[in-house]
Amino acid sequence: MAYKILIILSIIVFHSWNAINICHGENNVDERGTLDGVYIKAIETYPNPKPQEFNFGVGLYPYNAYYSGFGLGASYTYYFNKTWAWDIVNGMSFFSFDKDLISVLAEDFGVEPEQIERIEFLVGSNLKYVHSYGKLIFLKKFIRYYRSSFIFGIGLASTNERSYFTGNFGFDINFFVNDSFSVKFEACDSMTLNGSSIASPNYIVVKIITGISY
């Protein structure tokens, strides 16, 4: 049964792809992207961002049962070339806001956590691998160039109870406004390396960052 469904879906997708190609102006060209059989190619120069980048922005750590962390941070990144960069120092300081769970526990079950470990700051140094360059149309009007990177590095997470060494893994996507200014979205998981139990904290932070290149 599942096999039959898979076959039917494949046929639908195949015909939908052809329909999309036709709707996308292919009735005006005789073959895919050709003019009388001549392949048409675009030659364009990608924006040339500057090598040094200073970033500042805000972050959110939402994945704790008891509180959400709101962070302010900054970093300095150096791009060696189009593919590799070093996020030399990256730091974020957090303010925590309690979630409803604490009050629900107190009201409904009459219990209260004795102590909640809260993140205070994260600091790290990361290597970046730029895997993609591209452009997209934003709100059907604005063409924006972007680049996207994988992030991996090491760092330090400090809470109100102790500090941890962390391994950092994540990705970012950087949208260029011009050669000097960009807006970045970053998601990074700082996994503690020296926690003593399976409940070692794992800090997944999502960030919106402004980048100034020079």
């Binding site: 102006g25 005789d30 001549v38 048409i40 190619k41 675009a42 500057k50 070339n81």
Partner: protein, 444 residues
């Protein structure tokens, strides 16, 4: 029987006196107050309903003798011309009898258009009289008029001098439609002088960088690139004309340029594909013409551009824009103005849809002629290309052709260029960056 004939004759002759009766009509109640017209006119301009505004202004001239209304009407017409209103409105100035006041630009413009209107009617003395009221040394429209006159008599140096003078004037952003016209004329003069590099420069640096672009600019740019033997770029520019953004009527010169490129490069396969595509699109119409079928059976003829059909295109454009404004913006007008605006739009639409029918026969004929001429040119092309492939004069042509493999090339430390294949319709920022990946196929 005789009585019936006599009765019929009496009825026919009884209508003859009516021929001498002056026709008159009555304006609807809503349209009888000229103040209402002015309020509506202001609101139409405010809401950017320019086609409706022009019609309203013209109706004001026809229906009212009030000088203030006429002044307002002519100011509106001049403003709309400056905004780039595409149709010929010269007839609106023929009966103009105001003493223009207000700013110098309007005074110069009014007198200029009055002069042109009188000149077109053969009233040279009146035309000279109006010309004498213009600042002849600095008024850009008059300078352009002189430039066009010089161009018409092939006095290219004078025309170039005047156009370059115009383009150096401190014109404002609102003069952009005029600046485009002047730049395009200059480019065309350079092209006629076979100064292809200078002509190309105007298209590359200005005309094809505008948004929205005029599709004919791509065509003219492609001609320049063809004559400069930059065939790959020429094909790339012509690719833009395949976009859905380019609306009918379509200029068949597109096919001619491509054909000439393939001829120079001995590209027999591509010629065959070009001819197949042409036939697929137009074969039905061509066969119909050859077999003597009525041209009106082939509506696709209306989609073929001919420079003899300008009046038809203008009228069609006016109809489309009036309909668009009526359907999308009428409800945005104030409730008091909506009935009058509705009357104007509907009555103008009715008149134009009747008027356009008078052009249709000539349009079909002109487009059919264009189509047959292009078809005949392409018909013999394939054999010419095959012949050229072994022509000793072309065999040793060292026509360069760059190889465009999809690639990613470094240019400096962090910059790079991308070469990527197009999959269909284009991105706005890529439209002038296309190349046709074709090489010289003449036998060496």
């Amino acid at each position: 029987m005789k009585k019936k004939i006599l009765l019929l004759t009496l009825i026919i002759y009884s209508t003859f006196p009516l021929a001498g009766v002056k026709w008159d009509g009555t304006l609807p109640q809503i349209a009888q107050d000229h103040k209402t017209w002015e309020i509506l006119l202001n609101e139409l301009l405010e809401k950017e309903m320019y086609y409706g505004a022009l019609v309203t202004a013209y109706r004001g001239l026809l229906y009212y003798d009030n000088l203030a209304t006429k002044q307002k009407a002519y100011q509106t017409i001049v403003t709309l011309i400056d905004l780039g209103y595409p149709e010929n409105v010269l007839n609106m100035f023929v009966t103009g009898d105001i003493e223009p006041a207000d700013n110098a630009d309007f005074i110069n413009s009014y007198n200029f258009y009055k002069a042109i209107a009188n000149e077109s009617k053969g009233m040279k003395k009146w035309a000279d009289d109006f010309f004498s009221n213009i600042d002849k040394d600095n008024f850009y429209k008059y300078l352009f008029y002189l430039a066009v006159q010089a161009y018409a008599i092939n006095d290219h140096p004078k025309s170039i001098t005047l156009l370059e003078k115009i383009l150096k004037l401190p014109l404002e952003k609102k003069h952009l439609p005029f600046i485009k016209k002047a730049a395009r004329t200059l480019a065309r003069i350079y092209f006629k002088q076979e100064n292809y590099l200078k002509s190309l420069d105007i298209y590359e640096t200005f005309l094809t960088k505008l948004n929205p672009i005029t599709p004919s600019d791509w065509l003219e740019m492609a001609w320049n690139l063809y004559y400069l033997k930059r065939y790959q770029e020429s094909l790339g520019i012509l690719y833009n004309l395949e976009s859905q953004v380019v609306t009918p009527p379509h200029n068949l010169e597109n096919y001619i340029i491509r054909a000439l490129v393939y001829l120079d490069l001995c590209a027999t396969d591509n010629v065959e594909k070009l001819i197949n595509k042409f036939q697929k699109t137009y074969d039905s119409a061509i066969q119909g013409i050859i077999n003597g079928k009525p041209l009106r059976n082939h509506k696709e003829l209306l989609l073929i551009y001919s420079n003899q059909n300008k009046n038809f295109y203008d009228t069609q454009n006016a109809i489309n824009n009036l309909m668009t404004e009526y359907n999308t913006k009428l409800k945005q007008l104030s409730k008091d103005n909506q009935p009058l605006a509705s009357f104007i739009y509907k009555s103008e639409y009715m008149m134009l849809t009747k008027k356009i029918n008078f052009y249709l026969e000539n349009v079909y004929n002109a487009s059919a002629t264009q189509l047959i001429m292009t078809a005949e040119s392409l018909k013999f092309l394939k054999f010419s290309v095959m012949r050229e492939k072994f022509n000793p004069d072309t065999v040793f042509n060292n026509i360069l052709s760059q190889d465009f493999k999809n690639s990613f090339e470094d240019i400096g430390n962090r910059g790079f260029t991308l070469i990527w294949e197009q999959q269909g319709d284009y991105w706005r920022d890529e439209r002038n960056k296309y190349f046709g990946d074709i090489s010289n196929q003449c036998v060496k």
